[in-house]
């Protein structure tokens, strides 16, 4: 039993708004995965709920003739990820919301709720920022459009008035056609986790010269990307291998958009860094250096029990680099599905660390044994 006073199941958007306007204590409930959890925790108890759960017009994804994608705010995360329009046009958004909670939560929680809850850690937040999505709010006085970049006013606060209902999320064609992107979530677990940090990078690549681009593609970019990823775990190896070729030869960055969650009290964009990157060659190592040095000037991370400010700054630098590289790889059709899953990369790193440790242990053992082979030096034998 939830500690609410009254409950109303709205029949339509207008019906919901009328009930919200008439009752000062009334709050909107959609999927319930935030509102009901808050109630359980004793927040907002005694409020009235106006449910928009059963309004079909708020669900589903559509593409208008002018190319605008209309996302129904009451569409649950699973339906977003599985939607053919999302899969074809905004796959990185589908990927991002596929990291929310667990499967059951994704079957209930809605993308509109994810935004209206106002949390900086919302997994759709960073991606929506890079999409420059437009939110359509309808209230008793009519409807208005708010850019998602102006939607948040603080932690858990948005410009949405209590009696307004988010009725559509619009993504304009110029904001997604020709773009590729990648969302990376960092958390300690792979599911049932609130993001310690979320980062979405989207790029629009432009062939500098068609022939050059072709030549670049045969240059084994896939291999070099693997090398680079390993480099992240071991700088030593990078020095040994020299500077490997970066993906995207023959292309320039016509546009770059960098969005973060948990890098500030609200989801944010890093527009200054984006401006610096625009027009640069996609395989120029300097683009990663620019990210490493400049994004932190635009973010305001905090220390919390999840992570210290210092660790978050490190994540902010590293995740944007990885997301940018993956976005470029995807742009040239060489991306890795599921690359947004930060943890496997980390596990790879851990695996490497374990291997290195095994060798080190063997080394120590050998030294202690006066240089004699102790028989435990061969790749984790004594581990097994």
């Amino acid at each position: 039993m939830y500690d609410i006073e009254n409950y109303y199941e709205a029949k339509s958007v207008e019906d919901a708004i009328a009930h919200l306007a008439a009752d000062e204590k009334a709050e909107v409930i959609a999927g319930g995965t935030d509102v009901l959890v808050k109630l359980r925790a004793g927040k907002d108890v005694g409020c009235d709920l106006v449910s928009i759960h059963e309004i079909p017009e708020l669900k589903g994804v559509d593409r208008l003739t002018d190319g605008t994608i209309v996302i129904g705010p009451a569409t649950c995360f699973t339906d977003i990820t599985n939607d053919p329009i999302i899969q074809e046009r905004l796959p990185y958004l589908g990927e991002a919301v596929d990291t929310v909670g667990g499967p059951q939560i994704r079957n209930m929680g809605t993308i509109g709720g994810n935004l209206c809850n106002g949390a900086t850690s919302a997994d759709s937040g960073a991606t929506m920022q890079t999409l420059d999505a437009t939110l359509v709010l309808q209230g008793p006085e009519g409807s208005r459009e708010v850019p998602v970049t102006e939607f948040y006013t603080g932690p858990g606060r948005t410009v949405r008035k209590r009696d307004e209902v988010l009725i559509a999320i619009l993504v304009k064609p110029e904001d997604y056609i020709g773009y590729s992107g990648c969302y990376i979530k960092y958390g300690k677990r792979r599911s049932m986790e609130i993001a310690t940090l979320g980062c979405c990078v989207r790029v629009k690549l432009e062939a500098v010269d068609a022939k050059q681009a072709e030549a670049g593609e045969t240059g084994g970019t896939q291999d070099s990307s693997t090398t680079r990823r390993e480099d992240a775990a071991s700088t030593e190896q990078k020095d040994a291998a020299g500077s490997p070729a970066l993906p995207g030869a023959g292309f320039s960055l016509a546009d770059v958009r960098i969005g973060y969650g948990v890098a500030a009290p609200t989801p944010i964009r890093c527009r200054k860094t984006e401006q610096m990157l625009k027009g640069m060659s996609a395989d120029d190592p300097a683009i990663y250096d620019i990210i490493a040095t400049h994004v932190e000037e635009e973010v305001h991370p905090r220390s919390s029990w999840r992570a210290s400010k210092e660790f978050r700054v490190q994540l902010i630098r590293e995740m944007a680099k990885r997301a940018l590289e993956q976005a470029i790889l995807r742009g040239i059709g060489k991306g890795t599905p599921g690359a947004g899953d930060f943890l496997p990369v980390e596990l790879e790193g851990k695996q490497k660390m374990r291997e290195t440790m095994t060798q080190d242990t063997a080394e120590v053992a050998r030294t202690a044994d006066g240089g004699k082979d102790t028989g435990c030096g061969k790749g984790g034998e004594h581990h097994a």
């Binding site: 039993m1 939830y2 500690d3 609410i4 006073e5 009254n6 409950y7 199941e9 409930i29 319930g32 995965t33 009901l36 959890v37 359980r40 925790a41 108890v45 005694g46 449910s51 759960h53 059963e54 699973t78 909670g101 667990g102 499967p103 059951q104 939560i105 079957n107 209930m108 792979r190 599911s191 049932m192």
Partner: protein, 169 residues
């Protein structure tokens, strides 16, 4: 009209509302308090106690039921939303002859049950996967059961059981 007392001690009047839903294949017409979660209704009004009350905030998955074939946490689902929907709990899996469902049998065969608290929810996720008609890799299964917490088994036998019914052989 039923008079209920809130935690704050304030007495309010809440009308019971009528909800129609099909539970385990049977059509039900129930008078429920609109503040009830589906978990409350299934356990307290219909005595379907396979549906477990765990964390109450959608983290443990013990209260998982299938609503129109989709797994949801019934603790975070208001009964009012179940109007006209089909609900399946583990009680509804038993065949007329009393045989176990193939997912249940696989859990028995693979010893995927210890204390049993997470089992009904996991079985239902298994049934959802069987109904999808496709096969899954172990890695996919790991992600698909990530909304269920099991503190006994370490998940290995649960994954073995699920692989038996929806894995590649």
């Amino acid at each position: 009209m039923a008079v209920k007392t809130l935690a704050a001690g304030k007495a309010v009047s809440i009308m019971l509302e009528i909800v129609h839903m099909t539970v385990n294949g049977e059509e039900k017409e129930l008078a429920v308090d609109p503040r009830e979660s589906l978990l409350d209704t299934l356990r307290n009004r219909l005595n379907l106690t396979s549906v477990k009350r765990g964390c109450g905030v959608g983290e443990c998955g013990a209260c998982t039921v299938l609503i129109d074939g989709t797994a949801v946490d019934s603790c975070l689902y208001l009964t009012m939303w179940a109007e006209g929907k089909h609900i399946l709990t583990v009680e509804g899996l038993k065949s007329p002859s009393g045989e176990l469902n193939e997912v249940q049998q696989a859990f028995v065969d693979e010893a995927a049950v210890q204390c049993g608290f997470c089992t009904p929810g996991l079985i239902l996720t298994g049934v959802e996967l069987v109904n999808s008609g496709r096969k899954y890799t172990r890695e996919e299964l790991r992600k698909l059961i990530s909304g269920h917490l099991c503190r006994c088994t370490g998940y290995e036998n649960i994954l073995n059981a699920l692989e038996k019914v929806v894995g590649y052989h």
